[in-house]
């Protein structure tokens, strides 16, 4: 692609440079060629013009964790439907969860995913591999070779590595390759039969409680191991006030550790479980209101580095069950940014900071060239209006699965256009 596209009359938002100003952006082929006040004298004839009509133009969003269904769970999601959902949500880069069937612990599978993504993905799909073989928490995978094959991070999905020696060696070994270990932080024995936050609500509903300490204990252990090894550690999804504190202290100490959250942890609390709404069954579980507030504060002060969709598509059969038996997870590709905008509208997070958690933040952790509006950067863009009133409509999702805890939620914001490598992959109707 060598075409030139002029994005005119935009509100340019770039967290990396701190830009928030009127201007234009020029892409040539798959690259950003220029950005600034470019076309005050008119747009050159050889450019296709996209008039942003004063709307926001930002780097395309980078999602550090989403399940895309392939291979093995194509009835819940495929690369095609998952990446279309991403595009509709303004996401231009997705790290695909390795919790597939078979599990992504072999080079051939990384290559398979790459091929699938090339042929049927509409946004960039980056493979992740598991930390341990078969996600069994025992033997580490070929971290070096898998990284060479393209795995951008290593994670055992929503399973925690309980044996501290295994995590220690994985972090230690991975540091040779600068590989990132993203870990789910829960002590499974403390979770026990817990399926929601251990609280009055759980008691009333007669559901097993998952205590906040189950997460914080694992996180604190991990942070010690990260300190011991010097490895690059990322807590994939934290949900409690104590976890935010633990991360804050670790960062104050100077540890090279990062963490992420899922939108439902800053937007919802345990009361959403209501009368056994299985779409609110997520891992870690929705927590108390004070935990939710602490997560918001952690996003605001930068303790929490990134927001990831934690998109986990589930078919109705896996969710239309008694709460304890229902599958964990919520779809999130199409709502992550819109729900994030709530923080901006409530005055809890400036727009540039919100975008940082969704673009520059993950780009820095993953060492990616995208995620910024800069000359020479990949032309991955999102055009949006942060103010359009709307209502989330799960039935209208591109995703094959509709298990959203946000269905019918009134929101403000609309993704108008998503551009990957210079080509528009989504345009609002």
């Amino acid at each position: 692609m060598t075409g030139k596209v002029a994005y005119t009359n935009a509100r340019l938002l770039d967290p990396t440079s701190g830009t928030d100003s009127r201007g234009d952006l020029l892409t040539v082929g798959d690259t950003i060629a220029d950005v600034g006040e470019l076309f005050s004298a008119g747009v050159p004839d050889d450019c296709t013009v996209v008039d942003c009509a004063g709307h926001c133009l930002a780097p395309g969003l980078i999602d550090m964790m989403a399940a895309l269904g392939e291979p093995g769970r194509e009835h819940k999601e495929t690369i095609t439907t998952g990446t279309r959902a991403a595009a509709a949500g303004g996401i231009t880069t997705v790290v695909a969860s390795p919790d597939t069937r078979p599990i992504m612990d072999e080079i051939a599978l990384i290559e398979f995913l790459d091929r699938q993504a090339q042929t049927s993905g509409v946004v960039r799909v980056l493979p992740a591999a598991t930390i341990t073989k078969g996600m069994a928490g025992q033997e580490m995978t070929e971290i070096g070779l898998l990284a060479e094959a393209g795995a951008v991070l290593f994670t055992d999905g929503y399973r925690s590595i309980t044996n501290p020696q295994v995590l220690r060696r994985a972090l230690s070994y991975a540091s040779t390759f600068g590989a990132l270990i993203a870990h789910h932080t829960e002590v499974p024995e403390l979770v026990g039969d817990g399926v929601m936050n251990d609280s009055e609500t759980a008691t009333r509903l007669g559901l097993g409680g998952n205590p906040a300490a189950a997460e914080t204990i694992m996180l604190e252990r991990d942070l010690r191991i990260a300190e011991l090894t010097g490895g690059r550690y990322h807590a994939a999804s934290i949900s409690t006030a104590d976890s935010v504190d633990a991360m804050r202290q670790a960062k104050d100490k100077g540890l090279r550790v990062t963490c992420g959250v899922a939108p439902y942890h800053f937007a919802l609390n345990e009361n959403e479980v209501g009368h056994y709404r299985t779409f609110t069954k997520v891992s870690p579980p929705l927590r108390s209101e004070s935990d939710r507030e602490a997560i918001v504060a952690g996003l605001a002060d930068g303790t929490i580095d990134i927001i990831a969709s934690h998109h986990r598509p589930e078919d109705p059969e896996a969710k239309r069950l008694p709460f304890a038996q229902a599958a964990y997870g919520a779809v999130g590709l199409e709502t992550a940014f819109l729900i994030g905008l709530e923080l901006y509208h409530k005055g809890q997070l400036p727009l540039l900071d919100l975008l940082a958690r969704l673009t520059a933040g993950p780009a820095a952790i993953l060492s990616l060239p995208q995620g910024r509006l800069a000359r020479g950067a990949p032309a991955d863009l999102v055009v949006f209006n942060p103010d359009t009133p709307a209502r989330i409509d799960a039935e209208g999702f591109q995703s094959k699965s509709k298990n959203s805890p946000f269905d019918a939620r009134p929101i403000q914001g609309q993704v108008l256009r998503t551009v990957v490598a210079g080509a528009t992959v989504f345009e609002a109707a």
Partner: protein
Amino acid sequence: MTSLAATPFPHRHLLGIEDLSADEITALLDLSDTYVDLNRRPEKKLGRLRGRTQINLFFETSTRTKTSFELAGKRLGADVINMSVEGSAIKKGETLIDTAMTLNAMQPDAMVIRHSDSGAADLLSQKVNGSVINAGDGSHAHPTQALLDALTIRRRLGQLQGLTVAICGDILHSRVARSNIQLLGKMGALVRVVAPPTLLPAAVDRLGVEVHHDMVSGLKNVDIVMMLRLQLERMKGAFVPSIREYYRYYGLDRDKLAHAKPDALIMHPGPMNRGVEIDTEVADDIHRSVIREQVEMGVAVRMACLDALVHRTLERPAEAATQ
């Protein structure tokens, strides 16, 4: 012929106590009283549910509750079908909705469900046209048990208001405890829970109960001692160290009972583990143990619930006037 005005009963399902007001509970107990009297006559069969179909859908083993619901339905004249799916392939939760849809197609007027998962009755009620009665779902609720306990107490002591009730044992896993806490609280009784911390759920004090960890303080001056069954497998080190130790500290015997009011009643939802949570002698004390009375009240309460839910009114049966 009816002497009780037909008060509307606005509920289609009985899933838990939380949906009932104190007045509705009182009215249900009043209606139950009528059925107690009718059940003591030689001719017990009524026509209130003639031509109606009741399906008992038990995903968990149960002898007394299932029998009680079956008798209740039959005495009201309903056609009662029992589906015990415990142990069969259908037991798996995956098929709960399918089972519900299939049975719903047979047009039952009432479905009585017991299931090992909290929320199962709730889920079923969203998928069927008839009434759903929760006969116990996981650790969540067992509303007819709470109603029959209340009826037993009311018949013995006249009222619930102002009584102090100690619920002792495995509160953590007990749906009976949860439903009783709600019902007794609504009716103005003071509820204490007595258990080791490992058998209490999170924030149990937020349910409006006094929390005690020892039987002496917990039973002090109570009017009612309600014992809960402790599953034997929960006593092998997971929640308490041993049966011996549990019985020593939490089993109801004469010594512990001495701290309650002299005429305090002893209740148990059954089946009892004698020598585990309750001493045999105490359980069989004919003056104070109302455990068998509870079983009798169970049938009457379930008749009242079936009647009220299916007809959506609280109407005293015509037969009651002729006695």
